[in-house]
């Protein structure tokens, strides 16, 4: 446990509490109250992100603590965007995703500031990591839609929202270009920093696996449509499993030593 008795820690715990109360309020039918608390949680998360940025003097994407802290702020805007524009349900679950994503930042990873090593001092650092983190949050939402489909095929079609299968497809359509952009920007950056656009590093290979799983999803869905919707949904969940391995296992396990070890 790495409990933080700092101002940054206070902001993180406030966000976690706000997201949790927003979730409880929403599932108990107090949607408006839930929305207000959710927004307050987002403001606290944004303040934590800005504070950290100012403190370390670079965009806080360097280590696992900063990665989870950053993902915590992407949840709210993505949740609103997905509901209003993509008509994808799951706002209450998004609040819980926010809690889960911020938990490692609040309790697991240490928050000691680190200077950027030479390889990370590139303008590509921010867009490469940002697009990946946003796409990861989107793919979490996609996997939850897929899981809900496997549990309950009909889905929530109230309030002009789409069903779970269509919701999964829309989320993956939304996240896949960002996943592609993350892969390409990383490759380009690798060429500038290390001299090779593809180094067969475990992190690179697992990110390719994640990308290929979603490529497989699109091909299966194109070939069979919704005829094998359970297979589509299973692939969406498999995609998230590959993302979790890319993000966590590759950096935290000693099984995969590689060029991305600074991200641990």
């Amino acid at each position: 446990m790495a409990i933080k008795y700092t101002f940054l820690g206070l902001l993180i715990y406030l966000t976690i509490a706000a997201y949790l109360f927003a979730f409880l309020a929403t599932i108990t039918g107090k949607k408006k109250t839930g929305q207000v608390i959710y927004l307050m949680g987002f403001i606290a998360a944004a303040a934590a992100f800005a504070y950290r940025w100012h403190d370390v003097r670079h965009v806080p994407f360097q280590n696992m603590f900063e990665v989870f802290l950053s993902m915590g702020i992407f949840v709210y805007p993505l949740s609103i965007f997905c509901r209003r524009l993509l008509r994808v349900s799951g706002e209450a679950v998004d609040m819980l995703i926010g809690v889960i994503l911020l938990f490692p930042a609040g309790f697991v990873f240490h928050a000691e500031p680190q200077m950027l090593p030479p390889a990370l001092q590139s303008w590509l650092f921010m867009p490469h990591v940002a697009v990946y983190l946003i796409s990861y949050v989107i793919m979490v939402k996609a996997a939850i839609q897929a899981f809900c489909y496997l549990k309950d095929k009909t889905g929530n079609t109230k309030e002009n929202l789409v069903g779970y299968e269509e919701g999964t497809y829309r989320m993956i359509c939304f996240g896949f270009p960002l996943l592609t952009l993350g892969l390409i920007l990383g490759s380009w950056w690798g060429k500038l920093a290390w001299g090779d656009y593809w180094g067969w590093d475990p992190k690179e290979l697992w990110s390719l696996v994640s990308w290929l799983v979603y490529v497989g999803y699109f091909h299966v869905r194109y070939m069979f449509g919704q005829k094998h919707a359970r297979l589509n949904s299973s692939l969406a969940i498999l995609g998230l499993a590959a993302i979790v391995i890319t993000l966590l296992w590759v950096n935290l396990s000693r099984i995969f030593p590689g060029l991305h070890s600074y991200a641990g």
Binding site: P118, T180, L181, G195, W200, G216
Partner: protein, 335 residues
Amino acid sequence: MLAIGLLAVLSMAGAFYGAEKAKLLFNSIPLVFYWYLLSVLFLAGFIEFTRLRRKPGLFMIHTGCLLILCGSMWGSEAGHRIVKRFFGIQKTPNGYMLISKGDSEKYIMAEDFGRRLGELPFSIKLKDFRIEYYQAYEKTPPQLDIKTQEGQQFQLIAKPGEEITLGRDKLRVVRTFTNFRIRIEDNKKVITDEGPQGENPAVEVSIETPDGNSHSRFVFEHFAGFSHKEDGLQLSYTSQGPQMIRDYFSDLAIIENGKEVLSKTIEVNHPLHYGGYHFYQHSYDSEMQKYTILSVTSDSGLYTVYAGYWMLVVGTLWQFWFRHIAKYIKDKKNK
């Protein structure tokens, strides 16, 4: 679907093998056949599925993947051999150069510098090499914490020559080490400081007693609070760690026919491109900073790969985002 699944499984296996073995695996003969097969499948897809030709997004995505494959094969070692055999163009795919300050070099070497891999049609001169450190580390002086037998605590800036009187004894800083090491030379122990990237910061102090005797002690940052029976002092050293490198730079000049035709300062993320090669700041002489090590990579196939990247990104954005946004706007207008 099979090809995608196979690539995913091989990538997983490669991740467990590690980068070196994975590179060998993906460049092995069976995998070379796989890459060719994948390229042929892309071409067959264009012929078989009209949708791939007619939908701009799908066309760009698949063409992008094909270009990346072709560019990678062209830039590979086998690709370089084929180009040499059929077109007579001789380029070294990749290697390393070690250049001392003031010297010029034109040979590309293997990583261990034991084997010559190729020769450039020009020379590269290293005009200067320098390292920059983070300011926070430079400004914070190293510190020595002293606790006497009586429990009194003192602090001293750990710079050679600094002194402090501790009751009747006098403590003086003799020398600091960023990386303390003991070497055996001619059966004698020799204490050395091995460069700025040290892992064992230490300080040597001399303690003088009132009777005129003195003895030396080494205080190691990683073993704080040790005390000796001789003086009973508990000493801890904080060097603020080894200086953290912000960046390192090589001032290079391209020499062709005895004339300097280009000069550029390279650093990590900012390579030099000249004559069909990229030159990267790879490593340096960590002890004396007298030489730099560049990694050299041929640019064959690179722009084909980059074209593939652009097509893939624009294609996915068009297929999954812009197409839908355009439709949404059109529907709104029609309403």
